[in-house]
């Protein structure tokens, strides 16, 4: 242990004051940590000066080890092997065994049903569904189809490898869609394992879900009688619940477990639908450039309808759940609505840009191809629904609604703007924040980023 200079000891002991000592009640309460903050501070102040009282407190400490040993020996003799404990532990063990067996069975059945339902659902009702649906313009469909690609940067390569193959090798679009869905589903656990927090798995799920919704709508257009009855009576909110349940057999495990992650994907959908694509997804290009894949387009336009219907419900859920934020190893911004179990990438750049026209789209795509695929984030700070994210090249985004909408912020003071990489962002509340840059500057705001002050 580090020693202190002797003079310190000398001065420490010479500061003893002649004040009243705290009484035994106070000292006992102090040792038991049951004093209020101010009283406790006062007692510590006294103890720091008063050797007598320190001594009393120390002497009066309970026999910690002795108590612990006595307690444990008593426990080990009687209680743990007593009938009451055994009885309950047997019951609990039984329940756990049954539950885990059930879950195992359920998962296995799900997996097989995913494949079978993908195939059957699309081959029969979806084929019929193509007829009554109106022909929709190509751009909107392409956006919808791009959606998974947009969210899916982790699993992009995998998809690029598998999706085009599926599209080209199949004779009908229905089947071609089903094929990659299955593929991604199967890929999901693998990517999940590879990425730890498993954004890949979620993304895989997202992608699958997007297609599932298509299947759901197809079923709605030409549904089995029972399902139709349900859907007709359903309010929009109910639809959003029913749809996942209709789709449940084909959902991945994670999504079947709770609607929250389903909601999360759905929420991402309308956003991305408006967004011009910044990622240079080869998959997307291929889909855009292949208008001959008519049936798949019908499905995706139907997807848009469902997604919109669900928007309200999704939003209300969103307000309840304050997401967690993080930066991935690659420097992309991630958001989680389920306490960090699953993470979804958020790209403020694309949302903030929000230019829907084709020109901008092309420009952005070009820029993306030229080697700035997505910005590198270095720091994120969230207080309630307020989110601030900063990164390379003075990039700073601000969202007041948990990342639904973003604004690009350039802190400046008397005409001098922030430069360099942002290395840390700290917001203590919605108003007060502090940003540090690689150039060693510190920027402070006290009014939610309206004005900035450089230190």
């Amino acid at each position: 242990m580090q020693d202190v200079p002797k003079i310190v000891l000398k001065r420490l002991q010479e500061t003893a004051g002649a004040e009243a000592h705290p009484d035994a009640d106070i000292l006992a309460a102090f040792a038991e940590q049951s004093l209020g903050e101010s009283e406790r501070t006062g007692v510590m102040e006294h103890l720091a000066r008063c050797g007598d009282c320190r001594e009393m407190v120390a002497l009066a400490l309970p026999a910690h080890e002795a108590v612990a040993v006595a307690a444990s020996s008593r426990l080990s003799r009687g209680d743990w092997f007593g009938w009451p404990v055994l009885r309950w532990s047997v019951a609990i063990a039984g329940i756990i065994a049954i539950a885990s067996f059930g879950i195992l069975q359920y998962r296995q059945r799900q997996k097989s049903e995913i494949l079978s339902s993908n195939l059957s659902a699309r081959n029969e009702p979806a084929a019929n569904a193509v007829q009554p649906l109106p022909q929709s313009p190509v751009p909107s469909e392409s956006r919808n189809i791009i959606l998974p690609a947009e969210n899916n940067k982790q699993a992009k390569k995998k998809k690029q490898a598998e999706l085009p193959g599926g599209l080209q090798s199949s004779t009908t679009a229905n089947f071609s869609v089903a094929q990659p869905a299955g593929a991604v589903n199967r890929a999901a656990p693998a990517t999940g394992a590879a990425h730890g927090a498993s954004p890949g798995a979620v993304v895989g799920g997202n992608f699958a879900l997007g297609l599932r919704i298509g299947a759901g709508v197809a079923a709605k257009a030409a549904p089995p009688p029972a399902a139709q009855g349900e859907l007709k009576n359903a309010t929009p909110e109910e639809t959003s619940r029913l749809a996942p349940s209709l789709l449940a057999p084909s959902l991945s495990d994670r999504q079947a477990a709770g609607t929250s992650s389903a909601v999360q994907t759905i929420e991402a959908a309308p956003q991305s639908a408006e967004v011009t694509v910044t990622t240079e997804s080869q998959t997307a290009d291929q889909i855009i450039e292949s208008p001959k894949e008519q049936p798949s387009q019908y499905q995706s336009s139907a997807t848009l309808g469902v997604v919109e219907a669900k928007d309200a419900a999704a939003m209300s859920k969103l307000e309840l759940a304050t997401p967690r934020w993080s930066i991935s190893a690659e420097g992309s911004l991630q958001r989680s609505f389920d306490g960090g179990k699953t993470w979804v990438e958020v790209n403020p750049d694309s949302v903030a840009g929000k230019a829907g026209n084709a020109h901008n789209f092309a420009m952005k795509k070009k820029a993306a191809v030229q080697g700035n695929p997505h910005p590198i984030f270095r720091a994120v700070s969230a207080a309630g629904t307020e989110v601030w994210a900063g990164g390379s090249a003075a990039m700073l985004y601000h969202s007041t609604d948990s990342g639904l909408h973003w604004a690009h912020v350039v802190p400046s003071e008397s005409g001098v703007a922030l430069t360099g990489d942002i290395t840390s962002v700290e917001f203590s509340d919605s108003q007060h924040g502090r940003i540090a840059t690689s150039a060693g500057e510190v920027w402070i705001t006290a009014d939610d980023g309206e004005t900035w002050h450089r230190k």
């Binding site: 242990m1 006992a28 209020g36 000066r49 320190r54």
Partner: protein, 313 residues
């Protein structure tokens, strides 16, 4: 006792509001303490600890934090209720002796200590013909058991204070002139500056930090003991002591440099006085903390261990 003290109106209303609930919770009924009696006890406690200016919500929190069950038991014992006394004995008798043994560390002294306290708790002292029990001063801020241990420790420390002169005389005879020799007070300007810088650096610390330093370095408590005093983990204290020692040294040197002493000189000044101070500490400990007799050797040992390598270098 403190019945003469008045309590402010908001505190009074908080007491009135909570008295019924706390009375029921404390189980005072079985010791024959009426609601009125219990309210008086609460007023007594509130008068002792709550400031005159206390507001009502503060008073309410305070009252709710009291250990009313043990408070009722203690007060019932004090007023001579036999059933309460029986309960007290079954619950605390054994614990009291164990605690006394831990404090006195020796069988006969422990027994003496505990018996002495028993007498006081039961109240053999009479004041105007009335039995006065020490339990009447228990206020329920902490647990009754913790209070008993603290009172024992208090008693022990006081006893030491009474017998201190004898002990240190013995030691003086044993250890010869070392204690008797009075060290000349260092009085150079560098030393006074060093002192003022040290005081400044110490004053900048929180009470908790100074408490940790004093308990560890002055009293020779173990890290575990300090940790338990403060209710934190031992490793926290370990880190804290390390950090404090480093930062103090740095701060003192910085303070000295600000006063025009150069760094080398300042650092040297921190290292001098080794033997003087060791003796000073012993003397001061002897003066200020009567319980130090058995700590002295331990403490001196630790200082010597710490000082030895430095002295060699």
């Amino acid at each position: 006792m403190s019945a003469t003290k008045t309590i402010s109106a908001p505190v009074q209303s908080a007491v009135a509001e909570l008295a019924g609930e706390l009375h029921a919770k404390s189980g005072s009924e079985k010791f024959g303490i009426t609601l009125e009696g219990f309210t008086a006890i609460l007023c007594d406690v509130a008068a002792k600890y709550l400031p005159e200016t206390g507001n009502e919500s503060e008073a309410r929190l305070f009252l709710q934090s009291l250990r009313v069950e043990e408070l009722a038991l203690a007060r019932a014992c004090a007023s001579g209720d036999n059933s309460a006394w029986e309960i007290f004995l079954t619950r605390y008798r054994e614990k009291l002796y164990q605690a006394a043994l831990r404090i006195a560390r020796e069988e006969s002294a422990a027994r003496e200590l505990a018996d002495g306290l028993y007498a006081e708790l039961y109240g053999v002292n009479t004041r105007e013909g009335e039995r006065v029990s020490k339990l009447a001063s228990f206020t329920g801020r902490g647990s009754l058991e913790g209070w008993l241990r603290t009172v024992l420790a208090q008693e022990f420390v006081n006893r030491y204070r009474r017998t201190k002169r004898l002990v240190s005389l013995d030691e003086e005879i044993e250890e010869g002139a070392q204690f008797a020799a009075r060290e000349p007070e260092p009085s150079s300007s560098a030393d006074s500056r060093l002192e003022s810088c040290t005081d400044e650096a110490l004053a900048a610390l929180s009470g908790e930090d100074r408490l940790v330093l004093a308990a560890y370095y002055l009293d020779g408590r173990t890290l575990a003991e300090v940790a338990r005093m403060l209710g934190v983990h031992e490793s926290t204290i370990s880190r804290k002591v390390d950090k404090l020692a480093k930062s103090l040294r740095k701060k003192i040197v910085a303070g000295m440099m600000r006063q025009g002493v150069d760094r080398r000189e300042a650092e040297e000044a921190l290292e001098v006085d080794v033997r003087d101070l060791q003796v000073n500490i012993r003397r001061s400990l002897g003066q200020e903390s009567p319980g130090a007799a058995f700590l002295e050797k331990k403490d001196g040992l630790r200082l010597q261990q710490k000082i030895a390598p430095r002295a060699k270098s």
